[in-house]
């Protein structure tokens, strides 16, 4: 009654499958996790000892039947693995269950085999200690299994008598025993190492999530602080209607507008755009805004105010940072605008009587570029129903899915066609048109609008 090669193969596959299932299930239990994470509570340890002791007993019977009739068993597998991941106590515990059971089955190899099973748990536990309780790599565990089974065979030769019989048994089973146990240990080692990596990844993910939460909170706080830098409301200007809107492309941005009270009937109107967007631009925005504010108050002319502001700003402008800015001094009584343009998009002036549009350009350069600058100052008288639209390039450079820009022309046309609207309504109209134009596209740049109408 021989056992053929296909039979051995099928046996091997069956046993391997059972080990894989056992390994997968056991490693997903809380008891396993507790012991693996060195949370040594008695209950988990006892359960693991019982489980792997049970595996050991199974291993006596569930080995591979060889042609000679002997069985290449995997009794040592349970204790080896238990020792490797749980330490000597757990290993020896499992080993004793399997070993004592084997002893009482009898036979002339009973003694060396029982001893080997207990030692398997002990050696596994010693490796655990040597590796400072860290589970070994797959090749290391497999090598241990090979060594352990060789040791097991050695014990048989040493203890079992008659020697010839012992030698015959060893010759018969040594390769299959080493092979089967090594395979079993390798399977466990793979599954356990995967589990360890899984848990490590989960822990890292959790850490990143907490970090992200904290950063998002800080960003939100920064956003609120920057919001508070913009005027809370538009000032009441006698004879004028004024409205404003600003939205950064990201949580914070580099655009700003400002209304600066200069004198009884004089207000400074600022619109500006710091290069770039996001946090670097926002920090520079805070700096620029204060430099302009501080220098605008008390200065009689627009060009002087901005020239001095530039002196301050350029000292702190590193890495090529600059800010384009349009500043106008509005005389409410005279209905007059004195203005300078430091590299900014020229505001649109729509004349109420003719319907014609003028661009308020003036010779100048963005702030922060040169230490000393000269700005051309121009003057403009405003008549009834005149509208001035101040904007940043987030309006004109808004793109649609074809990467076409909204453009200055479209803006001019839109303003010309809507002179009848109030300042706020015109702001809303421009917003709506740009949104409709760039539908679906993420906001490309910080978007700012200020509309001033003479009533």
């Amino acid at each position: 009654m021989g056992v053929s090669v296909p039979d051995i193969l099928i046996d091997l596959i069956k046993t391997t499958s059972l080990i894989i299932v056992f390994a997968y299930i056991v490693t997903r239990t809380k008891f396993f996790t507790d012991v693996l994470n060195k949370q040594f509570n008695l209950k988990s340890q006892i359960i693991i000892i019982l489980l792997f002791g049970g595996l050991s007993i199974f291993g006596t019977y569930g080995g591979i039947k060889l042609p000679s009739g002997a069985i290449a068993n995997i009794r040592d597998l349970g204790p080896m693995v238990a020792g490797l991941f749980g330490g000597p106590l757990v290993g020896v515990g499992a080993g004793l269950i399997g070993g004592v059971h084997r002893y009482f089955l009898g036979g002339f190899v009973a003694v060396p085999c029982s001893i080997a099973t207990v030692m398997a748990g002990l050696f596994g536990g010693m490796i655990y200690n040597l590796r400072k309780k860290e589970f070994p790599k797959v090749w290391q565990a497999t090598l241990f299994a090979v060594g352990m089974e060789s040791f097991h065979m050695g014990l048989v030769l040493l203890i079992a008598r008659p020697f010839d019989q012992a030698l015959a048994v060893v010759k018969d089973v040594v390769i299959p025993m080493i092979g089967a146990n090594a395979l079993g240990v390798a399977i466990f080692a793979l599954i356990i190492r995967n589990l360890i990596i899984e848990k490590r990844t989960a822990a890292e993910k959790e850490k990143y999530r907490r970090d992200l939460e904290r950063k998002e909170f800080e960003i939100e706080t920064a956003r609120r602080i920057q919001q508070s830098f913009l005027p809370e409301t538009t000032p009441r200007l006698d004879g004028f209607d004024i409205a404003a809107f600003s939205l950064p492309a990201l949580e914070v941005g580099g655009d700003f507008y400002d209304f600066i009270p200069i004198a009884q009937d004089k207000w400074g109107l600022v619109i500006a755009d710091v290069s770039g967007k996001g946090f670097p631009a926002a920090l520079f925005m805070a700096l620029s805004r204060m430099c302009v504010r501080a220098n605008a108050m008390g200065k009689s002319t627009a060009s002087e105010a901005i020239r001095l502001a530039n002196n301050l700003i350029s000292q702190d402008a590193k890495s090529g940072m600059f800010v384009t800015l349009f500043y106008s001094l509005l005389d409410l009584k005279q209905k007059r605008l004195n203005y300078v343009n430091a590299g900014h998009n020229p505001p649109l002036l729509l004349r109420g009587d003719t319907g014609g549009v003028i661009l308020l350009g003036a010779k100048g350069i963005a702030l922060g570029v040169l230490d000393e600058i000269n700005l051309e100052e121009l003057q403009l008288d405003l008549a009834r129903h005149d509208t001035v639209v101040f904007y940043t390039d987030g309006v004109t450079e808004a793109i649609n899915e074809k990467e076409e820009q909204f453009g200055q022309e479209r803006l001019v046309k839109l303003v010309a066609q809507n002179n009848h609207l109030s300042a706020q309504s015109l702001v809303d109209k421009i917003k709506d048109e740009v949104n409709a134009f760039s539908l679906g596209q993420p906001q490309f740049d910080d978007f700012t609008l200020v509309v001033l109408k003479t009533v």
Binding site: D273, V274, S275, G276, K277, G278, S319, G320, M321, F322, T324, A342, G343, H344, N345, P346, K363, G364, I365, A366, V369, D393, E397, E403, F444, D445
Partner: protein, 113 residues
Amino acid sequence: MDIIERKMANGVNVICICGRLDAYASSEVEKKLNGLIDAAQVRLVVSFDKLEYISSSGLRVLLATLKRVRKQQGDIRLACVKPSIKEVFDMAGFTQLFTILDMEEAAVKSFDE
């Protein structure tokens, strides 16, 4: 956005920026230019022949590297600047800072004078 780099016979480096120079692309260009300046390559021509759009970040990068390169007796000269791009430079007042030439060859040769 792509960057094509060429070294000319007279030692001038030509950097051709293709596509849209937005905030993200600007950091790539900045790295490239700074790398060249670190390697003492301070005679640079930036060609805008294939440039479709330049953002304020792009201007910032050009300004920063211009300041750097001038400190080392070098220069960045611009070539093939389309009218739409030139408008952006004009508006910001940057035209007075840079030497702008129509043809790339002319820009490269200008370093020989």
